[in-house]
Assembly symmetry: D3
Homo-oligomer: 232 residues x 6
């Protein structure tokens, strides 16, 4: 039985609040159930050294978690240094967001996206991607308005969701207690047209059959279509 | 003329939301105008090494700021390391909170307080102290309820406010634009009985006369009395 | 046309040399084409703190690359610190190896696996997993011989291969020049019984259709079956 | 009873030796009782990046302590990293020294002041400020002589002293044993004309009444006037 | 009795394999007995900042050791940071190699030499110097061929060997077990014409007489002459 | 012509002041000409982990330099981290001092020696060793007096001096200007009975003949005998 009698193929309630950080060029506070992530976009009028003179833009992300977003307090990364998990997540977010737009059309601008988890109840990397994509859309629209970009670039909607197998059953959008008990844990990042951007599927307890993977993929696809309908 | 026609001796609106981080033993989201700080208390059933076997407790604080809490993005301290400013602020918060309670009465527990600035518009260290003190009160009351502390300890209310001299005029509770223009910048941490816990007064542009300091002290005292009335 | 007229579904030559580092409890120098990785297992008679007293073992991995394994020299991580890419890879190797054996049967021992890339020509993380799994097998057999483990544990064969889409065509076991040009890049970690341990598929240039993913999965599966036949 | 029958309002003997580090543009070895601090000024013909092209100069400070300046050996900060206490002190020294001179008149030069404690017996931050101010005066006079500055800038004398309440009594210029026992601990940085540059007053054991603060301020003012008479 | 009945004045077998790292401008895998070091040269078309505009080149070295090159696993320096021993060794290698060639004749190029120990059985710093010198020769010859250097510079052959006193007897080319038991431990870096480049002699158990040093010097000289005959 | 008409085989004036850091168990401020090093010994009643339970003591050293000990200001190592040069020097000092006494006779105590250069004019590592050895002698005598060591251990006098070849001529005890111009630079650490503890000889400009080394060794020996006469 899932919390609140949630169906195996049901998403948790998704809420989005724009403008939570008024200093940012765009910001979104996204909630998926009890998970809350604050996504803020900074637009910089320069590109990283490896792109100098190439006439294109860049999108990159950093990820963090407040120490008490979690059940037991985590060490502040300003003290402990950035963990491997954080590195892995922020690289995933950056790759996913760079699929949203033709970087040539961005001009020589960098969109630096900060995803900070205020409360964690499973699925923080997926919520980060989903929220950050909405914030990037807002930021790009703003850049167009300000004339920083000549033509409105085509934006590919992007969202992400976690799925997993818990006690032999495939579940959509795991919360923390489900995630901790999962035998298989997967994240799907999808574009609005149904194509995939990133697939990560990990055996936690035991290897999984290709058929189990297929079931998870179907569950994720349906969930993401629903998210695109409501958010984009 | 101050923003919103605020009087020179008027506080910005103060709002407090309890329980923003449900995993924490106590948490407070405090707003002073557009400044927002999330204060969370973690109760640990152990003390730092230098207190082992002394039968007393400890209160300590860490302070952070989300990269886009500010007008221009600040580097994430997980990347750059902790700055001198952060060290200075978190030491001040910790010292101030340790005045709230006789540490012998805490037993061998540590209250670890995280103050994270979500939005910055001046006075973040003062908002941190004021919000953290409320969160510590909640945490201690909870410890009593759970029987972690035998007797209810006497709690000294604590709050803080910034004052400063801008264009020759003493102002209460500076916002960012006022703080940037201040000739003198001071922070007062006060107890509920009117005694002082910490006074820091700094010449930004030019030295100040003792009489100017006295005027700032009066302004801060009145403002803090008003805060104690509404928050404690 | 691939280098040496290699077929789209052909592996590069795989060679394995045991005992390259005679001080190690087990070591394997694995070559996949021009990629060479040295995998060494250290057996420690203790477990990490989070497993103390649980009566089980642990397997963990570290990954490195000699500065001149690559076309242009990479900075030594002893100087620059560990990059996000390294963190990501060594976490993947560790997770994959932990699927090989019931950790209860290992007793309170840690197998610490070092994977160091001597020469890089694509697929270093997959070569690391494949070589390390063979070294772990040798180390466990040695532990049984020395009486460190009471009963011979059942070992699950594990291997990994990269696949990708280059100029619209699905290719098995990418070399560096193919990997640099790939539109989609995927790594499959598989068990000897055909079940999957980890799947990572990333859009490099544009999102990919689920059918493209299926083609990659088929290619990887066939390649890995061939590797299990020759190496296990 | 204070050491050597010192009166409550008496300074410890102050001695100043110029030129202790002959390579420095200016240097002062200052002793306040058994506390000894070596202050050296380096004049750089450039300014930090944030001042480029503004036509003004800068003064900044670093603070350190030899490991065995103290009763028990302190860890070398080259090993442990800079502590929060050091950050706080060197920021205070820098702010205080920048009040000495109109930075426009310095031209595009940086005065970098190193304060290194050779022996510590209380009041090291105040001795650092007092000694460094004298070294800055010497350095500026030298810059004028060398023609690095067109006109002699007006220099504001600066000095600092600690005061505190020990066993209910207000004392001037605390030594280490007094400082360790103080209920209130304050530092006053004052200009030669009696105006204040920085005031820091901290409750160590219990909050303090505004009247107690006033007594400390009077004691500090009298002590600093005496220091200005003898040193400037 | 030495391993394999080696005479007190006999070198261990020396083997050299060129081109082990094909991406490098030059590389040598050198074995002295069971010690194996991989030396790779990277040629950069720039010089360090302190040589800008001086029209000369530079040679520098970095040294590392794979974690399981040794009997018990060493911590990876990417995790622990570079040790003092590593700093000392890589400075010695760099100094020695810079004696090989008139740096004016190199033009504005940097030769960056990586020495990585794959297996350690004593004498790793000497093997590094000997192998690196051969790799530098190859790299310089290649630079001449590519026209990066106008004229062929004169190259001074360089090699190094360790000697020591074990149980009162002077031995050439210590292996690890001899090195661990040595009362005196010395390294000689010599040029092909018999002149010395670096001499380091260290008392491990007790000071040594100048006559003992002379005996070690003779032993090293004879051994190095033999190495020059076979390798240069 | 040397400064002050110093003869090629003459030492600079050596001065020693005991007790400069009164908190230390022993301290020596040593001057060799314009070079000044403060050496302080801390006696700890414990040994490092690798010596636990072996019933012996340990001597170790740390070395530092005040930023403005030198002609141009050096970066503070608390900011930049410890350089390779510092690592090399402090390892040399520690090794040299451990030759002074049978570590078994020290009991389970650690002598931690801090050598901090206040002014640098060449020969700082040799001055550190010479001064530290005198401080160690004082500390050990004090330990005997306090009953920390049962029997007075036999102490071997230790001192060090630099020699070098400048414009073809062998010079004793180089100052900074000579050291910068030296073609060969050597340091000799010697025991009071004329045996050698450490010899380091480095070609700076060109390799050197064994006969040149012999001349340097003679010069150093005579200089050190003179130092032992005056200091021990």
């Amino acid at each position: 039985m899932r919390l609140n009698n949630r169906a195996v193929n049901a998403l948790r309630p998704v809420r989005v609040e724009y403008g939570f950080q008024p200093h940012a060029e765009a910001s979104v506070l996204i909630s998926m159930g009890a998970t809350q992530v604050l996504c803020a976009v900074t637009v910089e009028d320069r590109v990283p050294p490896f792109l100098l003179g190439k006439g294109q833009g860049w999108i990159t992300a950093e990820y963090g978690m407040l120490p008490r977003a979690t059940h037991s307090r985590g060490r502040r990364e300003a003290v402990s240094g950035i963990t491997g998990r954080t590195h892995e997540i922020q690289r995933l977010i950056g790759r996913s967001l760079r699929m949203m737009v033709d970087l040539q059309q961005l001009g020589e601008h960098t969109l630096r996206v900060d995803c900070d988890v205020l409360n964690a109840d499973g699925g923080t990397r997926c919520a980060s991607i989903t929220g950050a994509a909405l914030a990037v859309r807002t930021a790009v629209e703003e850049m167009v308005q300000q004339g920083k970009i000549a033509m409105t670039p085509k934006l590919l909607p992007v969202a992400a969701v976690s799925v997993g197998i818990v006690q032999g059953e495939a579940l959509l959008d795991l919360d923390y207690s489900e995630d901790s008990a999962a035998e298989v844990d997967a994240n799907f990042v999808m574009a609005g047209d149904g194509r995939w951007i990133e697939v990560q599927s990990t055996a936690e307890g035991a290897p999984f059959a290709p058929e189990q993977f297929a079931a998870l993929a179907n569950l994720a696809t349906a969930g993401l279509q629903q998210m695109f309908s409501s958010l984009w």
